[in-house]
């Protein structure tokens, strides 16, 4: 009984009853999950864009037909002598098989072309003159630049990133609206208690602070649950996306842990600030 008395003494507005500890956290949890997915999408798109731009875009592939495979050293010598080329290295057959495995499976008897990987000093350089000079020295050699393909993929990644950030802003806006509605409902259900506290000398800060603390805690708790649910979801998505990142990334290490950790305090802050503003606005009608 003494414990109950103490509990209510700390909550003279009865907010633990007025502000449900299920509905608001449930809604915030759902929004935190969406926010986590949007954040992870944005981060993932950014990482892929960087990887493509600094990996594939920087690399130019040279392919020698199987009958010219013996000209590998000659091709390397010609390319390394060109001032535009930063490096030229052969891609060994094991690496080729590894790159083809996701699409072709294990095909040990498949004849593979000889492939060289170039890195140019200037990414914006037109590779056509290099191709012409190489073909003059090693007939049949083909040079494949990934620039256009990578530029399109990078534009797509940027679009995905923009959409993800727009979704994030939308989620934050909906969170503010949900908290404002919940606060107004709480104020409406505790109107008489608010007026009594006001008449007994409570300041606007006292009253708004009680609402803000309660709603901030509920929002932070909801976001914590949403972030917890997001972890396995994002790990599964990361696992699916691993081949796009070269298949070298472990799902758990690829998660945006800092973003996930920030979700509860940010949601709590949004809840706290929205409740403060909503209640103070309502209190203006009292003298």
């Amino acid at each position: 009984m003494a414990e109950r008395r103490s509990r209510y003494a700390r909550d003279p507005l009865g907010l633990k009853r007025a502000l449900s500890d299920r509905l608001l956290p449930g809604l915030v949890a759902a929004m935190a999950l969406l926010a986590a997915i949007a954040l992870a999408g944005s981060r993932g798109a950014e990482a892929l864009k960087d990887r493509w731009q600094h990996g594939a875009a920087a690399a130019v592939t040279v392919q020698l037909p199987p009958e010219q495979a013996g000209q590998m050293d000659r091709a390397l010598e010609v390319l390394r002598a060109m001032p535009e080329v930063a490096s030229a290295v052969p891609v060994d057959s094991d690496r080729m098989r590894q790159l083809l495995r996701p699409w072709l499976g294990e095909v040990p008897s498949l004849p593979l072309p000889a492939v060289l990987e170039l890195r140019l000093k200037n990414l914006a350089l037109d590779p056509a003159p290099i191709a012409e000079r190489l073909a003059g020295a090693v007939p049949g050699a083909e040079l494949e630049s990934h620039g256009i393909w990578v530029a399109r993929l990078a534009a797509l990644a940027r679009s995905v990133q923009g959409v993800a950030l727009a979704v994030l802003a939308l989620v934050a806006g909906v969170a503010v609206a949900v908290v404002a509605v919940a606060t107004r409902a709480g104020v409406a259900s505790r109107r008489q208690a608010i007026e009594i506290l006001h008449d007994l000398g409570a300041t606007q800060g006292d009253i708004a602070g009680r609402f803000a603390r309660r709603i901030g805690l509920l929002a932070a708790g909801g976001a914590l649950a949403g972030a917890a649910i997001a972890v396995p979801t994002l790990a599964a998505l990361s696992n699916l996306a691993a081949p796009l990142a070269g298949g070298e990334v472990q799902p758990w290490t690829a998660l945006p842990w800092l973003d996930l950790a920030l979700l509860p305090p940010v949601a709590g802050l949004i809840g706290w600030a929205t409740a403060q503003l909503s209640v103070r606005r309502w209190l203006k009608r009292l003298p």
């Binding site: 003494a9 009853r17 409570a202 606007q204 003298p287």
Partner: protein, 224 residues
């Protein structure tokens, strides 16, 4: 000290416009440490005058001075501290239904920042004084109307206010409790509290003679 100077009060009408004046041109002064009966028929404006005195309402015109402070809408930030120096017994008790009798009485002390250990003896003593010892943990709905009114009275006086306003405080009390309440109010008055009591009870006024402020139609028709 409470001073009204040409005070008028209008409540907004349901359509949001200003309604007719509920109080008109009230001018009077209640000296510090005085005891005043506030009298008048139903609808005369007694509750509105009390609402102005305990700052639940601000005047629409005129000057209102409460406890030597001029009350102005633009000085709203100063009003909560002023309200904490005013004790109010509401006609409808206005107890919080989910708080025990103890917590209802302790509420003004907690709002004033008093520690739990220091407020406990005061609250217990006040509840004992109004005859509610043993009912500290009862919720309002577990108490009779008279007991609820005594909780409301204890809450109003527990802070030892400088100004105490009471709206029909004996309405739900038997004659013995009513006399005890008036004895408490006069005792507080002797200790320096300015007391204003609105009542319909001529019997009570006769038992405790004091200056009266009589209202009719929102105007003062007698003071003295």
């Amino acid at each position: 000290m409470v001073r009204f100077t040409a005070v008028g009060l209008r409540y907004p009408s349901p359509d949001g416009r200003a309604g007719p004046e509920a109080l008109s041109d009230l001018t009077f002064t209640l000296p510090e440490g005085s005891f005043t009966w506030l009298l008048g028929a139903s609808g005369a404006g007694k509750s509105s005058v009390l609402r102005l005195m305990h700052l639940a309402q601000l005047p629409t015109r005129g000057d209102l001075e409460v406890l030597d402070t001029l009350v102005r809408p633009e000085r709203r930030a100063a009003l909560p501290a002023l309200r904490r120096r005013i004790g109010v017994v509401f006609q409808d008790f206005r107890l919080l239904p989910y708080l025990s009798a103890f917590d209802n009485v302790a509420l003004p002390l907690r709002l004033a920042g008093r520690s739990e250990s220091s407020l406990r003896p005061d609250v217990t003593e006040m509840l004992r004084w109004v005859g509610l010892q043993g009912k500290e943990l009862s919720l309002p709905q577990q108490l009779s109307g008279g007991e609820q009114q005594r909780v409301a009275i204890a809450r109003a006086v527990v802070t030892r206010p400088a100004l105490l306003v009471a709206d029909e405080p004996t309405g739900n009390l038997d004659s013995l409790q009513a006399r005890r309440l008036l004895a408490l109010l006069t005792q507080m008055n002797r200790l320096g509290t300015t007391v204003v009591v609105a009542t319909h009870s001529e019997e009570l006024v006769a038992q405790f003679p004091a200056p009266s402020l009589v209202l009719d139609g929102g105007r003062v028709v007698h003071h003295g």
